[in-house]
Amino acid sequence: MSTRSMRLSCSSSMHSIRSKANNMEFKTRVKNQSDMEVWEMSEAYNDYIGFISAMNKSVCAIPLNKPLSLSNESKLILNILNSIDNWITEVEPLKESCRFGNKAFSTFYNLLKTRLPDILSKELSLVDQQNVIELTTYIIDSFGNPTRIDYGTGHELSFCMFLCGLFKVNMLKQSDSKATVNILFSRYLEIVRKLQLRYQMEPAGSHGAWSLDDYQFVPFIWGSAQLIENPDLNPNLFVDEKCVQLFKSKYMFLGCIDFIMQVKKGLFHEHSNQLWNISGVPSWNKINEGLIKMYKKEVLGKFPIIQHVPFGNLFQFKQCAKKIMVPTPSTIITPTSTLLDKLKKTELSESNIVNK
């Protein structure tokens, strides 16, 4: 059955553009297994994991239904996502049964490729054009692969790099953190789920029953953060269908389980054995820490995923100068960039929320 390519290279056409500003060529850098060590020591890695951790902290004990005020910039990004959602309705799936997913997805992907560059360069007119090009590439690569018609954690990674990049160019600010997860990322999830169903997208590089999930990873991390210190919802309840129905709109994690229950047929322990095991972990805090450890190893540590990621000015592949320690799960890594320093300050100011 269709299996993710070992040798097809990254889809986007804009990966090899040289930045005039600082001469950082924007291209894929991880060419073989030994480059993975360079990646794990890079500024890009440090910034990215810092972003994941900072967002994670920002939504600790913050459910999806908690009202948040949206900055104009967040609204603007939300509008772009809404437009993308509308474009899906423009492209009907083909009627014939397709083996590698529905080929209409490539038509949808072409809409992304033709429309997003103009929209982003207009909306982000104050941002350095090289950075806009990089952001555009990341968002285009967020929705799946048009050749294989598949979607996986590599595409999700691309979207998170897009979001992180928006912080880096100062489009999103520290005060936008909660909305970034609970509104923007949440909206993104709705869109990719719609795409997965509508165009029957294959799970890209899924470890089958041994994956956390066929398609996503990050919403399980941030979703478990939302449940930290939650006295009403013990982890062993998240595999219970009634409980899932009750809380799927309130907590991202339960929304993920609901989606699995919609698309999978058969016994939960068999098709989603990792989650089944996780439901036996005693606290959400432990789950959250474990998922971050697992994400580093199973997604960020995998060559087949990272080989497709382009690096340039926003995410620099050079070795991280300030990195002094090997990342450990319970440590929030000190990010090098000023943006992430700012985010860190937010974490401190919001740490009291967690204890409520």
Binding site: F100, G208, W210, G266, G290, L291
Partner: protein, 303 residues
């Protein structure tokens, strides 16, 4: 009584063997496979099966429908492991059958019987999870390296996991491939386990990133040159269980019902009484209430 008699009973119960026993079983099967040809000759009556993908309960359903070994002679066209939860148990089951009745079951190599692919699609993780180390996975990969590439039923039905290769025009060219190795990322051997038939003129690059798409014309040519009646292959999900193409010259057989716990498809095997007298047997996934729920296991990340 040889020790595999006991292993045989264990494997039937959806259980896996202690590490050392599985290693011994792998060695026994390797010694058998090394004697087999790249294209293993098989005679009718025989039943041909497609992908299994670690769906142990459905593999048992396959045997209930097609008959037990040794009453029925089988050809399995690869992809025993990956994706499903019970790859290890399914492979163990097939290996014990091979050890006990080597002439009643022929196991071919699929694109998933490879080190590279099993590390991405689940079998490696499964071995790590169930044994806590990669030793068993390594031993299984040695078995994979020795699996035959194809089977030839009554000299006329060519069975292979994927399909044809632009580098192969005669069966003899397959017979001289050095098969005892990891599946290469390109070339004849790779193509045979990766290619797919498609209604195109001749050859097109495959969207899978390995192998080719091949059309009716090159299929016709290959069959005429090698005096074949039919090509049986697996490798692609078919919702109806099997599908004839190219003027009934080629059939795809799919034996994993409800593939990936998601597709809801029916599965099939093809029973050949003679080359021309054949009938598909369809079967569904085993219902939930006939499967056993294992205990929750502690995963190292969450300790």
């Amino acid at each position: 009584m040889p020790e595999w008699e006991n292993w045989f009973e264990i494997a039937k119960q959806c259980k896996y063997l202690p590490e050392n026993d599985l290693k011994k079983l792998c060695q026994i099967v390797c010694d058998l496979l090394i004697e087999e040809a790249n294209i293993q000759p098989v005679s009718t009556p025989v039943t041909v099966c497609g992908d299994i993908h670690g769906q142990f309960y459905d593999l048992e359903e396959l045997f209930r429908n097609g008959g037990q070994v040794p009453d029925t002679n089988y050809v399995f066209m690869g992809d025993f492991v990956d994706r499903g939860y019970y790859s290890l148990e399914s492979l163990t089951r097939l290996l014990t059958l091979k050890a006990k009745w080597p002439h009643r079951i022929t196991l071919l190599r699929g694109n998933h019987e490879s080190r590279q692919i099993t590390q991405v699609y689940g079998f490696y993780d499964e071995c790590m999870n169930k044994y806590g180390n990669a030793n068993v996975w390594k031993e299984c990969c040695k078995v994979f390296d020795l699996l035959s590439i194809a089977a030839l039923i009554d000299e006329e039905v060519f069975c292979v996991h994927g399909g044809l290769s632009p580098d192969i025009s005669t069966l003899d060219q397959i017979r001289i491939i050095e098969r005892n190795q990891e599946i290469p990322y390109k070339g004849a051997f790779c193509d045979l386990v990766w290619s797919d038939p498609e209604d195109i003129e001749k050859w097109t690059v495959s969207p899978r990133g390995a192998g080719w798409l091949f059309g009716p014309e090159v299929t016709e040519e290959f069959m005429e040159k090698n005096q074949l009646e039919l090509i049986c292959r697996a490798h692609q999900l078919v919702n109806e269980g099997y599908k004839y193409m190219f003027n009934d010259k080629l059939v795809t057989i799919w034996s994993a019902p409800n593939y990936c716990y998601r597709c809801g498809n029916i599965a099939s095997i093809m029973e050949f009484s003679t080359v021309h007298d054949r009938k598909p047997i369809l079967f569904n996934a085993v219902p939930d209430d006939q499967r056993v729920i294992p205990d929750k296991a502690a995963t190292p990340y969450f300790l």
